[in-house]
């Protein structure tokens, strides 16, 4: 069946029936192309997700005080809860085995001036460990350290875009900027994968912020990182006992939804990963549909091809073609065309994905790509089903009596 002569016969048939060859080849190539591109986009979407949520550390809790909505232990409802340095110290003391690090965070926004340049930026007053929570990358100089906290230094670490806005191309390290009326010395410049907004922040020691604000001990929020060894279940248990502890300490009704908020990044991450997985499932479903459509397309073409060739097959049978050779001719022709065009479609698809890269980032598609194994698997599936789809009409054609086939016009 696979002699050189047979192949030559098949090549001649393919060459001399260009439209037919083109139609079946085009269907298959298009099917695979769409499959590869869709699947790649799906992966691109997931990459975007990973980028989004991979920007911050994932073993982090954010504690936000709220306003109570229930009375508790003699306290009225509608009471504003505030954190202070003592709360942070208590957490550090009571939960030491679980904690990797902790840092407070105080948000302020204000005018920042350097010489003639000025702009509004938000300032985050934090501790040194905040660098890990935010995964801040230092470009120049250094981040805040423990000495800065202890000595309440007027040092600032500014974002890449803050430096660009205020200093242009001039060097910023060692210069003094005016932040809402106080002079701070720039000790470092950072970048952040979280996007432009992240790079328009300024970090200062939280003790300095408290000093400026009448030397109080208030904290806006507390950021805690648990030890990664705890795992997901451990983190959830930690969150629960932390919640109980803080509600007890701050006199918040355990059932009060508004007194205290804990944002658990690990939990969010898990949800987001689930969302991404569902997205991938949907994309895979659509891609699978494309393959099915491709199979139906090639089946239709095969039915048409056999119908069109009925008379020719009758002539061949009258001249001595056996049913086997009739089926063989049709099948080999179809397999040959689907294989070649399938792989062409696959390569074009991979090429398109490769050339896109970051270009579709605005549409939440980052680095679309497809695993070569998946692409080849899909192509082979299409080839096999194309052959199967060709086999049924081919077998029917081989069974038609030559006299019937010859009468076909």
């Amino acid at each position: 069946m696979f002699s050189r002569d047979n192949w030559k016969e098949i090549f001649e048939t393919i060459q001399k029936n260009k439209l037919r060859t083109f139609l079946s080849g085009f269907t298959v190539a298009l099917g695979i192309l769409i499959f590869v591109v869709l699947f790649g986009f799906g992966n691109g979407l997931i990459n975007t997700f990973d980028d989004f949520f991979g920007d911050d550390a994932t073993n982090v809790f954010y504690l936000f005080p709220g306003r109570t909505s229930m009375p508790y232990k003699g306290y009225k409802s509608n009471r504003q809860i505030e954190f202070d340095n003592g709360d942070l110290a208590d957490i550090n003391k009571n939960f030491a085995p679980f904690l990797e690090y902790s840092t407070p965070r105080i948000f302020r926004s204000g005018l920042v001036k350097y010489k003639e340049e000025s702009n509004n930026y938000s300032t985050r007053a934090v501790g040194p460990d905040y660098q890990y929570a935010e995964k801040t990358i230092m470009m120049k100089g250094r981040y805040l350290n423990k000495e800065d906290i202890k000595n309440k230094t007027k040092y600032a670490v500014i974002g890449r875009l803050v430096e660009k806005d205020l200093f242009g191309t001039n060097t910023s390290i060692g210069e003094y900027v005016d932040i809402s009326g106080s002079a701070f010395k720039v000790i470092g410049v950072f970048q952040d994968d979280g996007g432009d907004n992240e790079e328009r922040n300024i970090y200062i020691p939280y003790t300095t912020r408290q000093l400026i604000e009448k030397n109080n001990d208030k904290l806006d929020q507390i950021v805690l990182a648990f030890k990664p060894e705890l795992g997901y279940a451990g983190a959830m248990a930690f969150e629960k006992s932390l919640n109980t502890f803080l509600r007890e300490k701050k006199y918040i009704n355990p059932k009060d939804q508004n007194g205290l908020f804990i944002r658990n990044v690990a939990d969010q991450l898990k949800q987001n990963q689930q969302f991404a997985r569902v997205l991938q499932l949907i994309v895979a479903f659509v891609a699978f549909g494309t393959i099915i459509a491709g199979i139906i397309g090639i089946s239709n073409i095969m039915v048409f091809v056999v119908k069109e060739r009925t008379k020719e097959l009758g002539i061949r049978k009258a001249l001595g073609a056996t049913p086997r050779s009739v089926i063989g001719t049709i099948l080999l022709e179809s397999i040959f065309i689907t294989t070649i065009s399938g792989f062409i479609g696959m390569l074009i698809g991979i090429g398109i994905l490769g050339s896109l890269g970051e270009k579709l980032k605005d549409y939440f598609i980052t680095n679309p790509n497809i695993n070569l194994g998946t692409a080849i698997f899909a192509t082979v599936v299409l080839i096999i089903f194309g052959a199967l789809a060709g086999y049924i009409p081919a077998r029917r054609a081989a069974r038609i009596k030559p006299i019937v086939a010859l009468r076909d016009e």
Binding site: A318, L319, G320, R399
Partner: protein, 233 residues
């Protein structure tokens, strides 16, 4: 060479059954040139199709060159057709995307003859029908007479025992018809057995024997003096 006994064939047409052949008996010796005549519906094409193993009889015996043709599966029928028979059709039945040479070489392909030998033999038979210069033309570039000559060359190429021609001149004008008959006569002169189905009297008289079919039975079986077609060409 050909021996048939009590051949019956009927076709189902919905609920009716149409009895086309009602017991045909005849023998044809090697080297004969037999015309099968009859009006349309007399069963002549059906008889030829059964002889050509393109169709099956309901009952009766058929022996071709000493081989009983019975209960053949498609594969075996295809092999016998290839070995024993050459077909010439009214509508030529050339494969339209293959050149004259490739059409002639096709039966040899199914005999698994190597490509080079196939080409040589096909060229030889194309030469015999006088179409050597047209070897690489497609059927669409040939006239009706040329197409039929290519078909004859194709039927000859496999060197079959019997040539079966179904209205070989049916689609041709009379001059071309005589050319084709001249060719068939010459092939017969070389000793080939040929059966020609026709409804034209002059064509039938260019054969050596005429079998008249009427309503599914042989009405008359006569030897005739052959009229040579060459005198009209």
């Amino acid at each position: 060479m050909i021996e048939i006994k009590d051949l019956h064939k009927s076709y189902r047409m919905g609920s009716n059954s149409l009895h086309v052949l009602k017991g045909i008996n005849f023998t044809a010796e090697s080297g004969e040139l037999v015309a099968i005549m009859g009006s349309s519906g007399s069963g002549k094409s059906t008889l030829l199709n059964i002889l050509g193993m393109l169709d099956e009889a309901d009952s009766g015996d058929y022996t071709l060159d000493g081989v009983p043709i019975k209960n053949l599966n498609e594969t075996k029928a295809a092999k016998y057709r290839n070995k024993f028979l050459g077909f010439i059709f009214q509508s030529f039945n050339l494969i339209n995307y293959k050149s004259a040479l490739e059409n002639v070489a096709l039966p040899l392909y199914y005999q698994r003859i190597p490509r080079k030998e196939r080409q040589e033999r096909a060229m030889k038979y194309l030469g015999q029908v006088g179409l050597k210069e047209w070897a690489h033309h497609l059927p669409s570039e040939l006239s009706g007479g040329q197409k039929q000559r290519v078909a004859i060359a194709r039927a000859m190429a496999a060197e079959p025992k019997v040539l079966l021609a179904d209205e070989p001149t049916g689609a041709l004008d009379s001059t071309t018809s005589y050319e084709v008959m001249d060719l068939i006569q010459k092939i017969n002169d070389q000793g080939n057995t040929i059966l020609v189905v026709t409804h034209e009297d002059d064509i039938a008289h260019m054969c050596k024997r005429i079998i008249h079919l009427k309503d599914g039975v042989i009405e008359k079986d006569e030897k005739v003096t052959q009229v040579r077609a060459s005198q009209y060409v």
